[in-house]
């Protein structure tokens, strides 16, 4: 490279950057040699000699991108930018005959050099260690290439991101702080907002966009969690390339910030004036959300919107004041401007809480008309007293207009209930725990049911696909009480009927080939035979015809003894993912009136 007035390259600046840098790269090299020794020893003990080298590089790659490189990238950036954080050194460096683009380019080249030395040492060590071990050297070589590619892409992100953080602040310690916080901030905030929305916005179902955004904007978290391998080859190149690209863009942004960096602000928390306001308000909002979440748990006031809001504005105020104090390095920070900012934060949080508390601008009560709906995807986790199977994560598709109408009606009534009282499911749970006796003599109750006390809690996720192609998703926590299941007018009763009538038969039919059916008579187990499909299908048919909530039926007087069917997925023969997820066995009481086909099969096949 020619050195000229216009050149980006300045040998003297590079020399200054790399001067005395040996503790940085030597420390990192030592770390890798120790870590690699452990990883190598681990795979030496493996009997899979052929894959030892590949596994070694796989282990190194995972360690590199989930921990070592993100930390080292930040350390290198802090080292290279160290002269910027004290007025004396910053002024001295910038009075030298070198411009900022040359200084920045020297930082970039130094960053590459400081990573190249340890990486090269590790590559040599790993290759030498497995050279005569009987490993597949070709596969090992390609995995080494994967390691080099993935770790360099991760470094590109980490170094670029840390440079960007360094250019935002004027304090050395703030570089790793900003770097660490930004690496996890998005995922933490999206999780926190998600839980708050769920608490105060009944039916709130997080869209994939928010989750994906939170994950992608939390690079360290994402790289640590999302990387995968396929037959000893690295398989997450898209993720790594996206972050490397982001790192490159951030390097460009860091350079632009550097060009405008006012050296007189060395030592200040945030260097650039517009970023200060964003930082202050950002800290205030984060403090409001995190602080209120913490104190809600501590004080047990999570159900009260007003209490949560008060906690938010207190924590937000503390965050705002604290940041201002750090900015000015003084306790005397309260003035009209700060009060104005605080008022803005309080108003924004207040507006958020009002929106949440008044149904999210129609969000809570938004239920599509049945004729607008093309299809409904329906997932239930937990138990709802609706048939033999206590359903778990059953993914059901409703396309029958009648069933869709039934669902919409339930949804509409349930959302109205929640609008009036967002804590309805929880309060009902408490009532059910307190009430020992229930008046089942009311007209709406079917007297043939065994009501008793008790409740089940489940999550119901509904995703409507509308005729115009859009989707509308909602998620509810539903407390199903035994009493209300018997009341066809109650939302619980409606949901139980819907599930029993739609979901259970489908599930049973699809499971039939894999289910073992046992039945008990007076505690003695009978085995009617492996995979009694006929019995299961008969039961499914009964359920479709309205034999829902069989587990709640009173013992039929027809039977002299209590007979219970137990459905158990046969994992040996039917080891499907769906069945594996269910587990357990489910009791069904046989009743002449409600399970006639089941009874028929039992009579014919087992001589009851």
């Amino acid at each position: 490279m020619m050195e000229s007035k216009k050149s980006w390259f300045n040998k003297a600046a590079l020399r200054l950057d790399l001067h005395n840098s040996w503790p940085i790269w030597a420390g990192y090299t030592l770390f890798w040699l120790v870590a690699a020794s452990f990883i190598a020893t681990n795979y030496y003990t493996s009997q899979d000699f052929q894959h030892q080298m590949a596994r070694f590089w796989e282990g190194c790659t995972n360690l590199a991108i989930s921990f070592a490189v993100p930390v080292y990238g930040c350390v290198v950036a802090v080292w290279l930018l160290r002269g910027l954080f004290h007025s004396r050194s910053a002024l001295a460096i910038h009075a030298l005959p070198v411009d900022r683009k040359q200084l920045f380019a020297a930082h970039l080249i130094s960053g590459v050099v400081l990573n190249a030395i340890p990486t090269l040492a590790l590559a040599l060590y790993g290759t030498a260690r497995f050279m005569g071990s009987g490993s597949d050297l070709v596969l090992g070589f390609w995995t080494l290439v994967d390691f080099l590619g993935a770790s360099w892409l991760a470094y590109l992100w980490a170094f670029g991101f840390a440079l960007f953080c360094g250019m935002l602040t004027g304090q050395l310690v703030m570089v790793p702080v900003l770097y660490g916080v930004f690496s996890f901030l998005s995922i933490s905030l999206s999780t926190l907002l998600d839980s708050m929305f769920r608490k105060f916005l009944p039916g709130y179902a997080p869209g994939n966009l928010l989750g994906d955004l939170g994950r992608w904007l939390s690079p360290w978290y994402s790289m640590g969690m999302d990387v995968s391998w396929n037959n000893s080859r690295f398989d997450s190149w898209v993720t790594m390339l996206v972050y490397a690209l982001a790192g490159t863009v951030l390097m460009g942004a860091a350079y632009q910030l550097y060009r405008r960096r006012p050296l007189e602000r060395a030592g200040e928390l945030i260097i650039h004036r517009p970023a200060r306001v964003v930082f202050r308000l950002g800290v205030a909002l984060c403090a409001a959300l995190f602080g209120s979440a913490f104190f809600q748990l501590l004080l047990g006031v999570s159900d009260s919107v007003i209490a949560v809001y008060i906690l938010m504005i207190i924590c937000g105020g503390v965050g705002l004041l604290g940041t201002r104090m750090l900015e000015l390095k003084s306790f005397h920070v309260i003035n009209f401007r700060l009060m104005g900012e605080y008022g803005g934060v309080a108003a924004a949080l207040g507006l958020l809480m009002v929106i949440l508390n008044t149904g999210g601008m129609g969000y809570v009560t938004r239920v599509p008309q049945p004729e607008q709906v093309k299809r409904v995807s329906f997932i239930v986790s937990g138990s709802v007293y609706c048939g033999p199977v206590e359903m778990s994560w059953s993914n059901l598709i409703l396309e029958d207009p009648e069933q869709i109408e039934q669902l919409c009606q339930w949804h509409r009534e349930y959302s109205q209930l929640l609008l009036q009282n967002p804590n309805y499911p929880d309060e009902k749970m408490e009532q059910q725990s307190d009430n020992e006796t229930v008046n089942t003599q009311e007209n709406t109750y079917d007297q043939r049911w065994s009501y008793g006390t008790g409740y089940n809690y489940s999550n119901i996720f509904i995703s409507y696909t509308l005729n115009n192609g859009t989707t509308l998703s909602r998620k509810y926590g539903v407390t199903t009480s035994r009493q209300e299941v018997g009341d066809p007018t109650s939302p619980d009763g409606q949901m139980a009927r819907l599930l029993a009538g739609v979901a259970m038969p489908e599930i049973l039919e699809s499971w039939a080939p894999y289910l073992e059916v046992y039945f008990y008579e007076d505690g003695i187990q009978y085995e009617p035979g492996a995979r009694n499909k006929e019995l299961v299908l008969a039961l499914a048919e009964d359920l479709r015809e309205g034999g829902w909530t069989c587990s709640l039926l009173e013992q039929d007087p027809f039977w002299e003894q209590e007979i219970t069917l137990e459905l158990t997925p046969d994992y040996g023969a039917g080891d499907t993912q769906e069945l594996s997820a269910q587990g357990g066995s489910y009791p069904v009481r046989v009743n002449r009136e409600y399970t006639p086909r089941t009874q028929e099969v039992l009579e014919q096949k087992f001589a009851f």
Binding site: L16, R88, L96, P262
Partner: protein, 301 residues
């Protein structure tokens, strides 16, 4: 050689420099003086290309300084508090300076070693006393053979012998090579000995900027005593009375104006005693600022 035009700089709402103009001719030794907080260091940091001007221009050798390594290579700078990297010794610093400054003169570096004999070249410079660090800074900067030297309290911390030696090296550079020097100091007696131009800064503005001769010719201390029945009449408007004290019949006036005209005007009033005395730079500084600064006004009263 150094041209600053309408330079304005604001720090968080505080106007540190307010449309400042400064002109240092080539080969001049320019003393930049002003009370604390008047903006001297801020101007210097702009001239060194470290600060970004809010408004105005800063040129050295006819070229803007900001982001101009070519111009910066012509300049040597000794701030009040020189920065040395951790553990760097004199030999390492020499290498750094050699790589940054094309005009770095190794022979001169070795020659200057004869002056700075007390400096151990293999010892970390940060372990030196403040005075020794300043000597090290001089040694390095003078070895770069700068065409423009920017000095901020340059001899502060040096012992009297070293002060003389340093000034001697510096002034011989000015004489031999036509080096332009901008020096900021509160030691006005010392500046008076070395400067040929002076600029007085006050609250971010250039109060006055003249050659020292012009300045000293333009302001004079008059001691005048009138006869028993005579009163000292006010001076004509063409002269500016900066300060006046009266002790008995003896009046001491600090007057801005042409010395000879002042003498003629006052002599015409037939005083018993009339003496015109030149003012030191320190006195000029105090009396010039006396009209502006309330604190100084109080001292004068």
């Amino acid at each position: 050689m150094i041209q600053v035009k309408n330079l304005t700089k604001t720090f968080d709402g505080f106007k540190a420099l307010d449309s400042l103009n400064l002109h240092v001719p080539k080969g001049a030794v320019y003393g930049l003086v002003g009370p604390n907080g008047s903006g001297k260091s801020t101007v210097i940091r702009h001239i060194l290309g470290s600060y970004i001007p809010d408004e105005g221009t800063v040129e050295v050798a006819g070229q803007p300084v900001w982001e101009n390594p070519g111009v910066k290579a012509l300049m040597g700078n000794i701030p009040d508090d020189f920065y040395f990297p951790v553990s760097a010794d004199m030999n390492e610093m020499k290498k750094h300076y050699q790589s940054f400054y094309p005009a770095f003169d190794g022979q001169r570096f070795e020659k200057l070693a004869e002056i700075f004999t007390s400096i151990d070249r293999k010892k970390p410079i940060r372990s030196f006393s403040k005075g020794m660090q300043k000597q090290a800074a001089f040694w390095l900067v003078m070895s770069c053979r700068p065409q423009v030297l920017i000095l901020d309290e340059p001899v502060d911390g040096l012992d009297p012998v070293m002060r003389r030696q340093v000034w001697s090296v510096l002034l011989s550079d000015v004489a031999e090579n036509g080096t332009t020097v901008l020096v900021s100091s509160h030691n006005l007696r010392e500046l008076e000995d070395v400067c040929d131009h002076v600029g007085i800064l006050y609250k971010g503005r250039m109060l006055l900027e003249r050659s020292l001769d012009e300045l000293q010719n333009n302001i004079v201390k008059v001691q005048i005593a009138m006869g028993p029945d005579q009163e000292l009449e006010p001076l004509p408007q063409e002269f500016t009375l900066l300060h006046q004290t009266t002790l008995g019949r003896v009046h001491t006036l600090i007057v801005r104006g042409e010395q000879e005209k002042i003498r003629q005007t006052l002599a015409a009033r037939n005083p018993v005693v009339l003496d015109l005395l030149p003012l030191s730079l320190e006195e000029i500084f105090i009396y010039e600022l006396g009209g502006q600064d309330d604190g100084i006004k109080e001292i004068l009263v």
